[in-house]
Amino acid sequence: MAKREYSFYPGCSSQKGASSSNYLVSVQTMCEELDIQLNEIPDWNCCSASIGYAGGGELPRLVLSGRNIALSEQHNPGQEIVATCAACWLATREAQERFQHDQGLLAEANTALAEAGLKLKNDTPIKHMAEVLVEDVGYDAIKAKVKKPLEGIKIAGYVGCQTNRPFGIAGESFENPVYLDKLVDTLGADSIPTYEKKVQCCGGALAFSEPAKSQEMIKGIIEAAYDHGADMIVTPCPVCQMNVEVYQDQINATYGTKFKMPVVYYSTLMSVAFGRSAKEAALNGQVIPAKKLEEIAAK
């Protein structure tokens, strides 16, 4: 039996053939090594992320997350909900807090959910996978699993916005979180604690609707990593990962830069450090290949 069990909310972008399907592969590998069992919430739906407000308003948007929490309470009772996507985690936790503070809204949500035969108790803790690693598993247990230290790789820890604000990880600062740097060091790589763009916004969903404005911010995130001599950037967020990785050619064309900076998930780093294959670490999901990790995985 697995040491730890959670009710898992994977989110739309992690599905097969979707933009962070590589994230899910590496998370599954990482969890196998850490003896964590993820029980998917059956029939979960989209949380509407950060731009659901326009079409959804308040109650319909919150009911989306309410349905997921209710399904989790029904099918995975007693298990804490864990999300790997920053927006999924934020939206679910935000909905839970709003319902806790506003009983009228909770009553309305339950009237709506009754239409689908569901009842929301709303008392299940909701965590990001980073919290599971830092608070439940701990750096020492992670370090004990490292078979191939990521020696000689310099990695900029890009925490981004929504894994960090407004909830963040217990004991960490909103302005200067250090858990990602600690994780990088734990895996035997070199962190860059003074990476000044660690909590800079990448534009989020506005990378689609306001590409020029967002790419200007993304440029700063990558440039600072180069300035610190980073070999790659690591992030816990699917939107950050995609935005910072895939627009580099367009940014190069606009600004005359020559960026080719790999952007990986913490779970990719961990899977490689735990001695798993390139495929199990989802290195084949990199649009910009992370060659230094490929070399270690091939050893």
Binding site: G55, S209, V246
Partner: protein, 208 residues
């Protein structure tokens, strides 16, 4: 002008602040703003806002209803939550901006052709179809949201990014045919419809 907009103008003639408090998500917090400006200075796209949050809060209190609700400003919010964690008085600023944007849209006076307003609605419609976002269809609808000609141009510009995603298995042409979705789609739709009815009724009652 929509009937709801006219009804709200009539009802709250003397106080836009009261209108916001009653009808905008987290609007009851607006009067707590102490005008320090930390939110405006913390906003990553702040330089593009017609009116940064601090100014929006003062304009609400000054009764500048039309300037606020027709503004492009709130639609520039990237949901980075910098303003929320830094506000000395704990205003949920991100949510208030989202709430104002939605309220303007509900009244039919949000700016036309605002790219994020359009994209956000496309995303909502997309996820409502099957309960989960279909990234491929959402991407294509985004490219073509300003007409066919511009859509073809955008699609060509984005071709290399699409190929990169395709090659790494992070985009699938199969999503065009059906794609992912929830199984209890009937229950999903009924629950969201009910939520919409409850919220519409609550706000319509305020307009009377």
């Amino acid at each position: 002008m929509s009937d709801l907009n006219s009804a709200m103008i009539e009802k709250y003639r003397t106080s836009f602040l009261k209108e916001v408090e009653a009808n905008v998500e987290e609007g009851e917090w607006v009067k707590m703003c102490m005008q320090c400006g930390v939110c405006s200075g913390s906003c990553p796209l702040g330089k593009f806002w017609d009116h940064p949050p601090q100014e929006i809060f003062m304009m609400i209190r000054a009764g500048k209803r039309e300037e606020v609700l027709t503004s492009d400003a709130m639609w520039m919010c990237t949901s980075c939550y910098n303003c929320i964690v830094r506000c000395p008085r704990g205003l949920p600023i991100t949510h208030i901006m989202h709430g104002l944007a939605h309220y303007a849209k509900r009244l039919g006076i949000a700016p036309q052709n605002q790219p994020t307003a359009k994209f956000a609605q496309l995303m909502w419609d997309n996820l409502m179809k099957k309960g989960r976002v279909n990234e491929l269809k959402l991407g294509l609808s985004l490219y073509f949201m300003n007409g066919f000609g511009e859509g073809v141009k955008t699609a060509l510009k984005m071709k290399d990014i699409g190929l990169g995603m395709l090659k790494t298995g992070r985009m699938s042409p199969m999503e065009m045919l059906g794609g992912h979705g929830v199984k209890d789609l009937g229950g999903f739709h009924k629950a969201i419809k009910k939520a919409q009815e409850l919220e519409d009724a609550r706000i319509a009652k305020h307009g009377k």
